[in-house]
């Protein structure tokens, strides 16, 4: 897999992963308004420090500038986007149309996600579309790219180029099912996976062990999700209020154990320890750093995690 030179999209992320190097991606949440400069500001911190950056799609079902628009701004700033598309807000027609448009304007990485339920967000009574689910979306993008056909079977004039990503939550229950769901995403056509942010390392090691055993890590690139804890409050919130999240007591205690004012740094220290382990972990091909609303810290974290400089290709 690492020796392939046949590119699905030719994206920078694809090149990094196919060259066998440890990938490092970031995340950028678009603004709640029309100010493109807000995207540019965040992009400044990420450029050169990550291989590509996730542009979220109405994350937590809260309306923001659309991910395709913010992705285009990122491209203008010289930062490669991972265009996130959720199944909650668009039907198959709109999705295919957006994929064509995105590809036409230079978007080359895409993440196919279910999307947080609309109930969480600022328009809780909105109709959730869910015309197709995330696995069907992966298969649809693959069909568009590799067969040059719309879902309807009709030919696409100049098929899109897209490196297809998906998410994986190793911590949701039933635990043993998560590897099977990962297998389904790979079968559907996922090229790379980003996991939910990892705090429970023993559980993650077990998940990767199972994935290795099934041969899944030979078929897909896996990036481990890392989110540095900024505070004890954040750790407690994530532990209890975020569905599907697994935050062990040990992490919370470790943050409580340092003096006030040093908690954020300790959070970064924990994250960097994880990254060091992921670099050596069989089956993990990189890290996805989710420093949401903390983009300005990414250069420092990247430095401490010793992932700089990022590889550059001609």
């Amino acid at each position: 897999m690492s020796t392939e030179t046949n590119f699905n999209s030719g994206s920078n992320l694809e090149k990094v992963l196919k060259s066998g190097q440890f990938a490092f991606t970031g995340e950028l949440g678009p603004p709640r308004g029309t100010d493109a400069d807000e995207v540019r500001e965040k992009a400044k911190f990420l450029k050169g420090n990550v291989d590509s950056v996730n542009i979220t799609d109405n994350q937590t079902a809260v309306v923001r500038m659309s991910s395709w628009a913010a992705s285009l701004i990122a491209i203008q700033e010289g930062l490669e986007p991972n265009y996130q598309m959720v199944c909650r807000d668009r039907n198959r027609l709109a999705m295919q149309a957006d994929i064509l448009g995105g590809s036409a304007l230079g978007i080359r990485n895409m993440l196919c996600l279910s999307g947080d339920h609309q109930q969480f967000g600022d328009h809780p009574d909105a109709r959730g579309v869910f015309d197709i689910d995330s696995i069907q979306l992966i298969a649809m993008v693959k069909q568009m790219r590799d067969e040059g056909k719309f879902l309807s079977g009709n030919d696409i004039h100049m098929p899109p180029k897209m490196f297809i990503g998906a998410a994986s939550n190793p911590f949701a229950e039933p635990f043993v099912w998560r590897v099977h769901r990962l297998a389904k995403k790979i079968e559907a056509g996922a090229d790379f996976i980003q996991t939910q942010c990892i705090y429970n390392m023993p559980k993650f090691r077990e998940f990767i062990r199972m994935a290795n055993e099934e041969g899944l890590t030979e078929k897909v690139y896996i990036l481990g999700g890392v989110t540095p804890m900024k505070s004890v409050g954040m750790a407690r919130y994530m532990a209890s209020k975020v569905p599907g999240m697994d935050v062990p007591e040990e992490i919370i205690n470790r943050l409580k154990g340092v003096e006030k004012g040093k908690v954020a740094q300790e959070g970064i220290n924990i994250a960097c320890e994880q990254i060091e382990e992921f670099k050596e972990m069989k089956g993990v091909h990189g890290v996805h750093m989710m420093a949401i609303e903390w983009e300005h810290m990414v250069p420092q974290i990247a430095e401490q995690a010793k992932v700089l400089p990022r590889p550059v290709f001609d």
């Binding site: 339920h117 959730g128 197709i132 689910d133 696995i135 099977h180 599907g244």
Partner: protein
């Protein structure tokens, strides 16, 4: 069965404003069973309306009549003489949305108002308490999901769930709401049939996107569908 919930009283009062001779028609089937619109509920609502109008120094001449079902013409026919002789200026129906419409269609010159909000196809969990189980999607997948409907019971209607938000057996939207795919997994595991969900459920079309007409094999649609 189809379940319904009586509309808030204020909404019913507002709908009937200006109408002083009304027939409230109940239904003896689904809405009777779920205690929303049967004979008893008709009587209770009529009494409430009379009292409320009186408190507002107005009056209402409201009668009640309950038929077996409002979705069948043979039972609606019973009302013809009653309505003609009664000279009602408005009808109210406590049947489900299907019955209300059939009633309204039969007497198109008399305004018909819904006294209930139809709320789904549900099972009877306990007296007065019902849980939605079916969305009548026309493409039943229950054979592959251990008898648990993902279209209805998964908040996202996923066919390849659960999503990453599944939360210790509960749906991400609420800890009170079980995760349908968690339950599907357990049910199929118990039957040793996990293969049914290990394969990808490919894209389906939606068959409920325009009004559906069903005619059983061997039977014919009526000459002219009622407009």
């Amino acid at each position: 069965m189809i379940v319904a919930k009586r509309k808030p009283f204020a909404e019913i009062m507002a709908m009937l404003q200006g109408f002083n001779k009304v027939l409230n028609v109940g239904c003896g089937t689904c809405v009777s069973v779920c205690l929303a619109g049967g004979e008893k509920e008709v009587a209770v609502l009529n009494t409430e309306l009379e009292m409320a109008r009186r408190l507002g120094d107005e009056s209402i001449d409201i009668h009640g009549h309950t038929i077996e079902r409002q979705c069948d013409r043979e039972y609606l026919a019973e009302l013809d003489t009653i309505i003609e002789e009664g000279k009602y200026v408005a009808l109210m129906s406590m049947a489900c949305g299907v019955g209300i419409q059939f009633l309204a269609e039969r007497y198109p010159n008399i305004p018909t108002f819904p006294a209930v909000d139809t709320s789904g196809l549900a099972v009877n969990q306990a007296v007065g308490s019902y849980e939605e189980r079916c969305r009548s999607c026309s493409q039943c997948v229950l054979g592959a999901t251990g008898g648990i409907c993902p279209i209805t019971l998964c908040a996202k209607g996923l066919l390849n769930g659960p999503c990453g938000g599944t939360n210790k057996g509960s749906c991400e939207i609420s800890s009170e709401q079980p995760c349908a795919w968690f339950k599907i997994y357990e049910r199929l595991q118990g039957q040793n049939r996990l293969d049914a969900i290990k394969k990808i459920n490919t894209i389906r079309g939606w068959k409920d996107q325009s009004p559906r007409n069903l005619t059983q094999p061997g039977y014919k649609q009526p000459e002219k569908m009622a407009k």
